[in-house]
Structures are given as structure tokens and as C-alpha cells.
């Protein structure tokens, strides 16, 4: 079972949170803070598993995370999940994001949280749903196509938002995540 999925950046700002068990909003924020605190002080070359914090989990739960450039992807799972398997799943998820957004970077996650959620929904549903990247990307694309065919997010609105952008004092700089395709060699057979 996967209890929660958190994505936050190097400063602990949440970019996506998904709890498969109910927590009140303030508790959710505490969990994010606590998890960030636990994860952020770890070097990049230490192991990617942590015994859960006090708020989420208990002895049966583990935090399994990966750090990509500016983002932390943290999965809170119980002992029925394979640790290395989940690490690989995170990799699959990030690679899927990379395909869907074409060179994904933190900004994509910031501005398209909804889309990231939709992609995640094809990967995890409380338990691992799909691990085949092509299948995931295929389903996401089909759904996007369907959305387009409904034509409700009309192009006119996009044009307007482009106009609105002109007034903005500062366009956010593009922060690249860098090479996301770092495959852990030991996991490649998956």
C-alpha cells in the first residue's frame, strides 16, 4: 500500500501532494514540513529509505524518495511494497512526466499541477496501478485528446492569457531539472 506521495522542491515548497488516507489540511502541511526536514538534511549519496516520521507511518511505514535537481519525490509506503520496486516506480513516474511535458522541469509541475495529478492517477491508485511507461503515456494522451475534442479550454482563452502575460513584471525563469534520465544501474532489469 502507498499511503502518500509528496513532491516538494529544495525549499520544502509542495508541488504535488496526494494522500490515500485522510489527513486534515494542517496535518498535511505538518507532514510535508516534517518529511522535508527529514529528507533535506540527507546527502545525495546516502540511501533513499527512511523510517517514517512521527506523523505519517509508524514502524511499518517507510519513506522512499528520490531527489532530482530541484525536486524531491517522496513515497510513503508500508512493508508490503518492495523498496527497490518503489524506487523504480518513482523513476518510471518521472520519466513519464518527462515524456508528457517534453523535458520536464520544476516549472511544469508548478503551473500544471492538475496535469501532473492526472498522470499520477494512471500510475498509482493507492497501490501500484501501472508500471509500463508506454501504457501510461498512451492513456494520458488519449485522455488529453478527448479533452481537446471537447474543445472547452478554447484557444481564445489561451490567447487572452498570453495577452495577460504581457503585463506581468517578471516572467519566471526556466529552471531546468537537468538530466533526468539517470538510471540506477542495478534497477535496469525492470
Amino acid at each position: 500500500m502507498i499511503k502518500a506521495i509528496l513532491i516538494f522542491n529544495n525549499h520544502g515548497k509542495p508541488r504535488l501532494i496526494r494522500f490515500y488516507e485522510y489527513f486534515a489540511e494542517d496535518v498535511q502541511q505538518q507532514i510535508i514540513r516534517e518529511t522535508f526536514h527529514l529528507v533535506s538534511k540527507r546527502d545525495d549519496n546516502v540511501c533513499n529509505f527512511l523510517e517514517g516520521g512521527s506523523l505519517i507511518g509508524g514502524s511499518d511505514y517507510k519513506l522512499i524518495y528520490r531527489h532530482y535537481a530541484t525536486l524531491y519525490f517522496v513515497f510513503c509506503v508500508d512493508s508490503s511494497e518492495s523498496e527497490l520496486g518503489i524506487l523504480d516506480l518513482i523513476q518510471v513516474f518521472v520519466e513519464t512526466l518527462d515524456k508528457c511535458f517534453e523535458n520536464v522541469c520544476e516549472l511544469d509541475l508548478i503551473f500544471h499541477m492538475d496535469k501532473v495529478h492526472f498522470i499520477l492517477q494512471e500510475v498509482v491508485m493507492g497501490m501500484v496501478l501501472e508500471t509500463n511507461m508506454n501504457e501510461i503515456v498512451g492513456q494520458v494522451e488519449l485522455q488529453n485528446r478527448m479533452e481537446k475534442s471537447e474543445g472547452l479550454l478554447c484557444s481564445a482563452a489561451r490567447a487572452v492569457s498570453a495577452v495577460k502575460n504581457i503585463n506581468l513584471p517578471e516572467m519566471p525563469r526556466n529552471i531546468n531539472i537537468g538530466d533526468i534520465n539517470i538510471k540506477v544501474p542495478s534497477l535496469s532489469p525492470f
Binding site: E25, C47, M125, M127, V128, E147, P172, F190
Partner: protein, 1235 residues
């Protein structure tokens, strides 16, 4: 109007969308909260509009704000609105928002039921998908109950995309609505073999998750999972299955044996580390479960340890971590094999990664032995010094103490060393664990008598240097140590060299800054020391001056404590102060007081086991929960008021009251009171009495004589002004061991005389033959005399998974096939599965049946496919259950008859699959073997039918007991056992009175036999496929040689063909998938396809095999004839009387009849035989008349009416296929002519 619309859409263009919101927040870094609150106001406006596009945009923004921690539950209704939009674009946004913020107490969820149902059945698969995804986050018990049927249907959806989601969400549904588990499970099981890998993986996921919580209910799936494991190539699926096996093996060791080989192969072959790791883990679990019975698995252990070592040595920190984790599991059962890797683990202690260091520490805990304890602890102490960060240091400290104190200080050979370690640990600054150290000091000093002198000396030093400990940080936890030090010095003051000095140290003014409870101990123990000092001085008149000085010292120093704001300190101090003043008066009159003062503190405290209080049995007739006086309503607050008042009064007057009372009491009175108390205690069952061994006469001081003498090596300076160095002990210990070794050599010659210090050794000489330096008799902890032995495994009663502890092997009752019909919420009282089932079975069942017969038939078909095996196995359990219940079924009930009546040898598929036991040669006994195990295994496998969630440990114990008994019985009285079963069976068949037991029966018939091998077989129709029959053949090796390469071949007829793998020619033989060592039997199954089932058939076949002896091997063959009777095409199918009546009325069936004469067996035997051998079930029985039913694999109905009178049995039969019927009747006739 038109203008309005245009205006609306232009407005919409300038609404903020999600991107604008994010951008805005980023541009308002300084006043983010303010900006967001204006945004929320805007959103509220947007939500008020009718335009769904605007609404969904607003909801989308809310989802983002929710992530930032804003409560958006106020918009729940709007979210539902967006969810119910017909457009996928909006629907998706709505469901996303719902899944982020809905939960069980969101009340609008009630409104969503119909919307969700609509979405689930939408023709658009993505609408359905979105709804399923959303449900996975916010499903409530109500939703689960209302939608379970819809989701169950989706499990068979044509699109795999929907199937896999539906399968996965069923787990949540089960959790919220446990009643759905049994009806849905057959379909879930079906999905294990779904053609789509995603669906299969989802089903494996769900079943593994279910099985992990209640493994015993899923044991019967083991063969299926085994098949998946050996055939699947999907690592995700493999990992889950292997993990599941890890949970199952503890319940069924035979499974473990079967697993070892394929797992070992996987370990060797896989390149995926994750899979390798899980394999190793499961092998470990297997080895643990086998640890008692299987000596020859050292190879597997070695393999595991060796693979783990590779993981630990890997540069990847993740693998290192997992390697250590798995290593700690091996450690529990095979410590030896891990200990050889001590170097590696100590190395991990230096790792830069804290998680890895902690894992390594865990491992060390199990690796210590008498030999290496000192060395390991020394290493750890070095790490303590180096460790930065208090968390890790505290972790180290607790680990050191854990390691040393584990299993009753088993590994400590030298307690002086341990005390020194404890004293060294007190030097840690800022540790939170002062309390832990203190309790260790106390524990050791109390329980290890021999060490007291040394401990007291060390504690005296500690007290003397108390300022070093407390320093400025009087709040640091370490001063707890002083509590222990003071108590030890006081209690065992007879060991003090200079009690006077210690007394002085304890009464220093600085003590008053310590925490109250420590001061209290100081004061009390100062009094004890005082008595010791007096005792030491008296007798020598010259010293009376010193004695008086001591009294004066107390009188001078105690007033500080009398003024303490701590009640306890104050009370004790004032008491003792008065006492000392009184004594001083006596001293001035030259009265000898020492003895009387000592009597104040005479007697010894015994350590009491931590659980002692819990173990005091509640005497009969005492109800602890009953009110003594019914509480008056509203009196509580009043009471409290009175209490607090009383307290205040007490606190004020306390000191004045106690003073006179205490001084008045003289020694005689005290002694008298003590006697009275003792007598009272002796009669009081609740008083924990001292064990006889420690019941010493007081006044005798402490039994010094019988304490083994500790030889303190004088090379160790006892009173180092600083602190002791434990390192010295390490060196000394080595020397001592050397010496001991030498001594032991000599010992062999003159062992008797050299029994120095052997007396009182607590345990047998340890592994390494190291004699402890102190012959320590560790005083064991006391327990009340009639303590109840019990293991307190307190399971969390709130665990939602408990509700899922439901037996799945039991066939579905008719009423269960469909989920309970929805009722209005208030009516629904959550019933326990048992109640539910029983209630429905008795009342509603028969009526329902007639109404939806058609439906049922279809469903039955599907259900039975899945259930065939289980049902058979189930019988064992049913019987057991029936045995324990009273056979009160006084009238014929349909539901009982519906249970498949006769037991077949297939009863224990699992057992066959698992066992390698030889099959007895007599076919009658052949039945006994497969039959007998259900007594043990299915019970273990699936628990007793539906296990009530809060089954007591007592119960499980008794069932274990039963199991054992059952096994014994099996060994001794096969037949007796059988008859028991048979009788129970008869009850199942709806019989009325006590009837004679049935003789044992078997369907396994001898197929062929020669001097090498014997084959028995059973032929059953295949539930899965109407044109197939399954032939189960048991091969038994009768000779002393190894039989291998068995090949099974049959000459096909036009009507019946052996199914061969694709690509094989029509005359190719099938390889039997196992070898047979001498005396072993095993079962193989062959599938035949048949076209017509009207006629019985015989097929000729040959088995060829190679008999391999030590020096040669011969090729042998054995011919046989397979007899497909018409009976073997029949399948036991329950039928209800009304359906049965309808069937007969329909007029489609053609009749035939049969008369049997000279049958002198009881009617129920007769019925049981027909049921057993010919796969019928009893529909109804009235006196000596019974109706029976069966169905062929191709769906022909066969109905019998059996009547008996005066040794004559007449059978009227009806069937829609007269040829089949005739043959079946002939076979029945044959059966009875044979017996």
C-alpha cells in the same frame, strides 16, 4: 439577453485560471496570504455563477490552494456540481478536487452515490476511470456498500484499463465494507489469470494485500500463486507473490520446502536486484519456519548470507541498507552464520549514512556473545565519543544498554566491567537517557548480589563527584543517575568503606538544587547511612563522640530539606530530623541506639517482575467492573471539590501531624505492627509474597555468608578519583580468560577441588566455555504464586483489517451470491459476517432462489468453476464445525443439504500439492491419507470458517490443541477418526437421528500396478469447461530405486482425447513433471477432452519410466486402462427443493427406474454412497425417502428419488438425456452390487 451571454464569456476570458493564480502567488511573495485571500474571494464569486466552465476553473484553483494548506471543504458542494458535469474535461477536474479534499465525514458525499454510479456505467471508459480513481481516495462505508455491485461488474469489463482499476479499488471497498469480500472474491481470483498483465498484476496486488493481513485464509491459493510464480516474467508480480509466500510459509512449513528450490533458482538467475532481494527475504522466512525440522538447509542459508554480503559491500547505499535489514532477519534464527560477517557490520558503523549505522547497530544486538561482548561494546563506546548529534549518540547509548542487558544479562561475564561502562556513560553530556542508565544501575546492583560491594564503591564516587554530573544543566536527564547512586549507597551501605564521607556528600547544600524526587531519595538514604554509621561506631565507647557528631551533622543539614517545596522531600526530611533529634537525646544519655535504628531499615527488597501485577489472577466471584455503589448522578463534581479541599488541608497540616506520630512509635510497637502486618499479608491473597529463597530473617543483616565471594582484583583501583575506565577490564578479562584456560586444562585432572566459584552459576557453561568472572546469581524476579501464563499480544482492536478476516474457501451461500440489497441507511446495523450469513441462510434463502433461478444458474456456473476445489476442501472444515456444534438440526433444511454432501479425496488439494507422503497401497486407505489432513490443514489454512474478529488467544490455543489431538488421532486410529467424520457428514446431509457411522470411502481407484510403481486415479468433470474431464493420477514408487522420466500416454479415441501441449503430435506422450524417490508418491493431472458424455468409455494407455539404481538404469513400462464412467461426467451441484420441483414439473425430463434388492445398509449410508461415488447431492430427505440431484458437465440435469423399504431400494430417476441416465443407473447398481 444575447448581450448578457457575450458579456459573460468575455468576463470568463479575464478570469484567472490556474496558471494565473500560480503566477500571481509567485509575484506576491511578500503578502502571499493577503493575495490568496483575495483570490479566494474571487473564487467564491466564480462559484456562484451558473457557468460550469467558470465553476470548474474555480474548483481547479481550489485544488491548488488545498495543496498549499488551505481548507477548501466549504466548496464541497460546488465540487460535486463540477463532478456531475457531462463533459470529461470538467468531470476530471471535479473528481480530482474531490479526491484531494473529501473524506468520510464530508456530508455531501452522500449526494454523489448516484452520480458515481452513472459515471461507473458510462460508455466512455475514461469517465469510468476517473470515477474509479476518485473513489480510491474518498470511498466511505456507505459508498462501498452501495457501489460494490457496480464495481464488481466492472471487474469483468471488456477494457483492461477499467478492469485493472476496478480490481484495485475493490481492496478499498473490502476495507470499508467487509461483507463484500466473500461474494467478490471468486471473481477477484479469476483475475489472477487475466490475459492482460496489468489486470493480473492488480489482482495479485490486492490479494497479496488481503493475504498479508490474514494469511491463513489464503493458504489455499498457494498452488495458484506457485503456478504464477513459476510462469510469470513480470518482476512486479513476482515480487508481490514472493512477498506473499513469505507471509504464508510460517503457517505451512511444507509450503516452504516446496518453495526453496524455485526461489534458489531465481536467486541464481535473476539480474534484478529488487527481485533477488525479495527472494532472499522469503527464503529467510522459509528457513525461519523450518528452523526446527530441517537440518540440511545450511546451503540455503549460506547462499542468502553470501548474497547479502554482496549487497552490503555494494557501493549503492540502498542495497547496503537493505542487505543489513535482511541480515537482521537471518540473525534471529541463524546467528552463527551472520556472526562470521562481524567485520563487515562493524565497518558499517563508520558509514556516513545514519540509516545504515542504525541498521548495523540493530544487527550488533544479535551478534554479541560472551566472547565478543566487551570488544563490541568497546567499539561502540568509541563511536559514542565520536558521535556528533545527540540523536545518534542517544541511540548508541540505548543500544549499548540493550546489548548488555539482553536476555537477563546473559552475555556479561564481568559485572564490574558493566558497572564501569554505566559509570562512563554518565559522562555523556545532554543525554536524555539518564533514567535508563539509572535503572540499569539499580537493576544490576539489586539482582547481582556479588557486585554490590563494587557497585556501592562506584556509586559513592559518583555521589562525591555529583557536581561533575549536574554542572550547570540541572535539567539534563543525567542527574537521574544520582537517584540510583543514592539509593544503592543507602540500601547496601554495609559495603561502604567510608559511610561517613558518603553521608557528608549526600547532605551537601547543592543537593537541594536537584529535582524533588531525587532529593527525597537522598534524604531517605541519608537516614539509612546514618544507621550504618551508628552501627559501625557503637561498641567502642571512644567513638560515641563521633556518633554524636554524625547526629549533629544531620541536624545541621536536614533543615534545608525541611524547607523544600517538594512535599515528599519535606515530609521525609522533617520526619527524619525529629528522629535524629530524639536519637541525639538518647546518645547524650549514653543509651545504645544503633540496633534499634538499624531495625528501621531492616529487611531486603526483592525485585518484582514487571508483569507481576498484571498476572495476579482475579479470584472467583470478583467483578472488577461492577459498581460497588451505583454512582449518583451529578455527585462527581461535588466529590472532586471535597477531595481537593481535603488535600489542601492535609498539605498544610501535614508536617505538624506527622511529627508527633512518628516519634511516639517505639521499637516494640513497630515490631508488633510489623508482625500484625505480616500476618495480614500472609492471609491476603493480593499481597505479593517474597519467595522462600529470599525470605530472610531480618536482623541477620544480609546473608553475607551465602553470597558467593567476589574476588575483586586489586589491580583495579577501586577509588579512582575521576571515573573508572572500563578499558582496563577488557585487558584484565583477556588475561583472566587466558588464565582460566590454563586452569581448565589442569582442571581436567583435579576438577573436584577446583570448583572455585562454580557454585551458583546461573546457566550451563556457555558456547565458548567462558567462565564468568563473577559467579553471579541473578536474583530472578518475583511473580505472584498463581500467575496465569499468558502471552499478551495485544492486537490493535481498531485495525480495519481485522474485519477482513473472513473465510473465503467456504462456498457461497445462495444469499451471498449477490451483495445484500441496499436498504435505507438508518436500518443498516452493521452485522458481523457470521450473523449476516446465518440470518440470511435460514430465512431469505429458499424464497429468493425461485425468483432468480435463471440468473443464479448463470452465476453458479461461473462461481463453481472457481470454487470447485475450495468447496471440496471446505468440507473438512464444515465437518469439524458441525462436530463442535450440537447436531440440533431437527428438520430438514435446504441449505444444509445444499452443502456438497460427500467428501472426496480431493478434499485437500492443497495437501496433495504440498505433501510428498507416500500413498498407502490399499485404495481404501488411500482415501484416508488425503482425507485425514483436512483435520489439520484446512483448519490452519483457513481458520474456522468465519473467524469472529476478536477471537481470544485462548481460543486459538485450544484450536491448536485440537489440531494436535486431531493429528494424534489420525496416526493412531485412522478408522475411528473416519467414522467420526462420516457421522458428522451425515449430519450435514440432513439426517435426523443418530445414525451409524459410515465406512470410509474413496474415489481413487487402482489404475495399474507392477513391482515398481502403482497408479491410482480419480476422474472428475472439469468445471471450467464442459468438454473436459480431469484425471488425477497418483504415482507411487514402490521400489527402492529412483524413478524418473515418467511418460504418460493414452491411445485417443474419436470421442476422448488426451490434451497435449500445442505442437505435440496426436500420439506423443506427456512427461510427468516430477521424479519419484523411493517410497514417495505424487500426483499429476491430465486433461481429456470428450465430445459425447452419454456413454462410458475405456481408453488404453501406457506409462513408461526409467528405474535408476546405483549402478544401472532400466526402462520399464506399465499398461493401464482408463475407465471414463458416466458418473465421472457428473458434478456435485447443490439444488434447492423449489428449483428441483420446478425442474421436475417442466416435463423435459425422461424417466427411468431401478430396483436394488438385498441392500441391508442404513439408508444414510446408501445416500452417502450415492453422493460420494456418483457426485449427487441430497435435495431433501424425509424419513426413508430422499430426492437427489446432480448435473453433468454439459448441463444435463439428473434427478433421483430414492426410497427404501425392507432391504429393497427403488430409485426413480429422471434426466433430459436417457442414455446418460441409463448408464448412470447401471453404475449405481454396480456400486451396490460390489458391497
Amino acid at each position: 439577453m444575447a448581450l448578457k451571454i457575450v458579456k459573460g464569456s468575455i468576463d470568463r476570458m479575464f478570469d484567472k485560471n490556474l496558471q494565473d493564480l500560480v503566477r500571481g502567488i509567485r509575484n506576491h511573495k511578500e503578502d502571499e496570504a493577503k493575495y490568496i485571500s483575495t483570490c479566494i474571494d474571487e473564487i467564491k464569486q466564480e462559484l456562484k455563477q451558473d457557468n460550469i466552465a467558470v465553476k470548474s476553473n474555480a474548483v481547479c484553483k481550489l485544488t491548488y490552494l488545498q495543496m498549499l494548506g488551505y481548507d477548501v471543504s466549504w466548496a464541497a458542494f460546488n465540487i460535486v456540481e463540477v463532478m456531475s458535469s457531462s463533459k470529461f474535461t470538467y468531470k476530471r477536474i471535479g473528481y480530482l478536487a474531490a479526491s484531494q479534499c473529501f473524506h468520510e465525514s464530508t456530508d455531501v458525499i452522500m449526494l454523489t452515490t448516484n452520480q458515481i454510479r452513472k459515471d461507473l456505467s458510462s460508455p466512455n471508459q475514461y469517465d469510468t476511470g476517473v470515477a474509479l480513481t476518485g473513489l480510491s481516495c474518498f470511498v466511505t462505508p456507505d459508498l462501498a456498500r452501495d457501489l460494490a455491485n457496480d464495481i464488481m461488474t466492472l471487474m469483468s469489463h471488456t477494457k483492461p484499463y477499467i478492469r485493472k482499476k476496478a480490481v484495485l479499488i475493490m481492496y478499498k471497498v473490502f476495507l470499508k465494507y467487509p461483507e463484500s469480500l466473500r461474494p467478490a472474491f471468486p471473481r477477484m481470483k479469476e483475475k489472477l489469470e487475466d490475459p492482460d498483465p496489468g489486470v493480473q498484476s492488480a489482482a495479485v496486488n490486492v490479494i497479496c494485500e488481503l493475504a498479508r493481513r490474514n494469511p491463513k485464509n489464503y493458504l489455499s491459493l498457494a498452488p495458484l500463486f506457485f503456478k504464477l510464480m513459476t510462469s510469470s516474467t513480470n518482476n512486479w508480480v513476482l515480487i508481490k507473490i514472493i512477498k506473499l509466500f513469505g507471509a504464508l510459509t510460517p503457517l505451512e512449513p511444507r509450503l516452504g520446502k516446496k518453495l526453496i528450490e524455485p526461489l534458489t533458482n531465481l536467486i541464481h538467475s535473476t539480474s534484478a536486484m529488487s527481485l533477488l532481494y525479495e527472494c532472499v527475504n522469503t527464503v529467510i522466512a522459509v528457513l525461519i519456519s523450518l528452523s526446527s525440522g530441517m537440518p540440511n538447509h545450511s546451503a540455503s542459508i549460506q547462499l542468502c548470507v553470501q548474497k547479502l554480503r554482496i549487497l552490503i559491500e555494494d557501493s549503492d547505499q540502498n542495497l547496503k541498507y537493505l542487505g543489513l535489514l535482511a541480515m537482521s532477519k537471518i540473525l534471529k534464527t541463524h546467528p552463527k552464520s551472520v556472526q562470521s560477517h562481524k567485520d563487515l557490520i562493524l565497518q558499517c558503523l563508520d558509514d556516513k549514512d545514519e540509516s545504515i549505522r542504525l541498521r548495523a547497530l540493530d544487527l550488533l544486538y544479535g551478534m554479541v556473545s560472551k566472547k565478543n561482548l566487551m570488544e563490541i561494546v568497546k567499539k561502540l563506546m568509541l563511536h559514542v565519543d565520536k558521535a556528533e548529534g545527540t540523536t545518534y549518540r542517544d541511540e548508541l547509548l540505548t543500544k549499548i544498554i540493550d546489548i548488555c542487558s539482553q536476555s537477563n544479562y546473559q552475555y556479561i561475564t564481568n559485572f564490574e566491567w558493566y558497572i564501569s561502562i554505566l559509570v562512563e556513560l554518565t559522562r555523556l553530556e545532554g543525554t536524555r537517557h539518564g533514567h535508563l542508565i539509572a535503572s540499569q544501575m539499580l537493576d544490576v546492583a539489586i539482582r547481582v548480589k556479588a557486585i554490590r560491594a563494587f557497585a556501592v564503591a562506584q556509586m559513592a564516587t559518583l555521589l562525591d563527584n555529583a557536581h561533575l554530573l549536574t554542572g550547570n544543566t540541572q535539567h539534563s536527564g543525567i542527574c537521574e543517575v544520582l537517584y540510583a547512586a543514592a539509593w544503592i549507597c543507602g540500601e547496601f551501605s554495609e559495603h561502604l568503606e567510608d559511610p561517613m564521607a558518603t553521608l557528608e556528600a549526600m547532605l551537601r547544600p547543592k543537593v537541594a538544587t536537584l529535582p524533588g524526587h531525587i532529593q527525597a531519595v537522598y534524604v531517605q538514604n541519608a537516614a539509612k547511612l546514618f544507621s550504618t554509621v551508628l552501627c559501625g561506631l557503637e561498641g567502642a565507647p571512644a567513638d560515641s563522640k563521633v556518633a554524636q557528631e554524625t547526629s549533629q551533622l544531620l541536624i545541621d543539614r536536614l533543615p534545608v530539606f525541611v524547607q523544600s517545596d517538594n512535599l515528599e522531600v519535606q515530609e521525609r526530611a522533617s520526619c527524619i530530623l525529629q528522629l535524629v533529634k530524639y536519637i541525639q537525646k538518647l546518645q547524650q544519655k549514653d543509651v545504645e541506639v544503633a540496633e534499634e535504628v538499624t531495625a528501621l531499615f531492616a529487611g531486603e527488597l526483592n525485585p518484582v517482575a514487571p508483569k507481576a501485577q498484571k498476572k495476579v489472577p482475579v479470584p472467583e466471584g470478583l467483578d472488577l467492573d461492577a459498581w460497588i455503589n451505583e454512582p449518583l448522578s451529578g455527585s462527581e463534581s461535588e466529590d472532586e471539590g471535597r477531595k481537593t479541599k481535603g488535600k489542601a488541608v492535609f498539605a498544610k497540616e501535614d508536617s505538624r501531624h506527622t511529627k508527633p506520630r512518628y516519634t511516639e512509635v517505639d521499637e516494640k510497637e513497630l515490631a508488633k505492627r510489623r508482625e500484625v502486618r505480616k500476618a495480614e499479608q500472609a492471609n491476603n491473597p493480593f499481597y505479593i509474597k517474597a519467595s522462600p529463597s529470599s525470605q530472610k530473617v531480618y536482623q541477620e543483616a544480609v546473608g553475607v555468608e551465602h553470597i558467593p565471594v567476589v574476588q575483586i582484583d586489586l589491580s583495579v583501583p577501586l577509588k579512582v578519583p575521576g571515573m573508572p575506565m572500563s578499558d582496563q577490564y577488557v585487558k584484565l578479562e583477556e588475561e583472566r580468560r587466558e588464565k582460566n584456560k590454563a586452569v581448565r586444562k589442569k582442571d581436567k585432572k583435579k576438577r573436584r577441588e577446583k570448583g572455585r566459584q562454580r557454585r551458583g552459576d546461573s546457566g550451563p557453561e556457555s558456547e565458548e566455555d567462558i567462565t564468568p568472572a563473577h559467579m553471579v546469581d541473578i536474583v530472578t524476579e518475583e511473580m505472584p504464586e498463581n500467575a496465569l501464563p499468558s502471552d499478551d499480544d495485544d492486537k490493535d482492536p481498531n485495525d480495519p483489517h481485522k474485519a477482513l478476516n473472513i473465510d473465503l474457501d467456504k462456498p457461497l451461500a445462495d444469499s451471498e451470491k449477490k451483495l445484500p440489497v441496499r436498504t435505507h441507511r438508518p436500518d443498516e446495523v452493521l452485522k458481523s459476517p457470521i450473523e449476516d450469513e446465518e440470518g440470511l441462510e435460514v430465512t431469505s434463502e429458499p424464497k429468493k432462489k425461485s425468483g432468480k433461478e435463471k440468473k443464479d444458474k448463470e452465476r453458479k456456473k461461473g462461481k463453481e468453476k472457481k470454487n470447485k476445489r475450495k468447496r471440496k476442501q471446505e468440507e473438512g472444515e464444515d465437518l469439524m464445525e458441525a462436530g463442535s456444534e450440537e447436531p440440533v438440526q431437527s428438520k430438514v433444511t435446504n441449505d444444509v443439504a445444499a452443502q456438497p454432501p460427500a467428501s472426496t479425496p480431493e478434499a485437500s488439494d492443497l495437501d496433495f500439492w504440498l505433501s510428498n507422503a507416500p500413498v498407502p497401497s490399499d485404495p481404501q486407505e488411500a482415501a484416508a491419507v488425503p482425507d485425514a489432513p483436512p483435520a489439520s490443514t484446512p483448519e490452519a489454512a483457513s481458520g474456522v470458517a468465519v473467524v469472529v474478529p476478536d477471537s481470544e488467544p485462548e481460543e486459538t490455543k485450544s484450536s491448536k490443541h485440537k489440531k494436535k489431538k486431531e493429528k494424534d488421532k489420525k496416526k493412531k486410529h485412522h478408522h475411528h477418526h473416519h467414522s467420526d467424520r462420516a457421522r458428522e457428514e451425515s449430519v450435514q446431509n440432513g439426517t435426523v437421528e443418530d445414525e451409524e457411522p459410515l465406512p470410509p470411502m474413496s474415489n481413487y481407484a487402482l489404475l495399474a500396478e507392477n513391482s515398481y510403481i502403482k497408479m491410482v486415479c480419480d476422474i472428475q468433470g472439469n468445471l471450467h469447461d464442459g468438454s473436459q474431464v480431469v484425471v488425477s493420477v497418483i504415482f507411487e514408487n514402490k521400489c527402492d530405486s529412483f524413478i524418473k522420466s515418467m511418460e504418460f500416454n493414452v491411445m485417443d479415441s474419436l470421442n476422448s482425447k488426451l490434451q497435449r501441449p500445442e505442437g505435440a503430435g496426436p500420439h506423443d506422450s506427456l512427461t510427468v513433471p516430477f521424479h519419484l524417490p523411493p517410497g514417495i508418491s505424487n500426483e499429476a493431472r491430465f486433461i481429456f477432452s470428450v465430445q459425447s458424455i452419454v456413454m462410458p468409455q475405456k481408453l488404453k494407455g501406457t506409462l513408461t519410466f526409467i528405474v535408476k539404481t546405483e549402478d544401472s538404469s532400466t526402462h520399464e513400462k506399465l499398461d493401464f486402462k482408463l475407465h471414463f464412467t458416466c458418473t465421472s461426467y457428473l458434478i456435485t451441484t447443490p439444488c434447492y427443493s423449489d428449483a428441483y420441483a420446478k425442474l421436475l414439473e417442466s416435463g423435459d425430463l425422461k424417466g427411468s427406474s431401478l430396483k436394488l434388492e438385498g441392500i441391508n445398509q442404513p439408508f444414510h449410508h446408501l445416500l452417502a454412497r450415492i453422493c460420494f461415488h456418483h457426485h449427487f447431492s441430497v435435495v431433501e430427505r424425509i424419513d426413508s425417502c430422499a430426492s437427489m440431484y446432480s448435473r453433468s458437465i454439459q448441463g444435463h440435469h439428473v434427478c433421483l428419488l430414492v426410497k427404501t423399504a425392507d432391504q429393497t431400494v427403488s430409485i426413480d430417476a429422471k434426466c433430459d438425456e436417457p442414455g446418460l441416465l441409463r448408464n448412470v443407473l447401471d453404475e449405481i447398481k454396480l456400486t451396490f452390487s460390489q458391497c
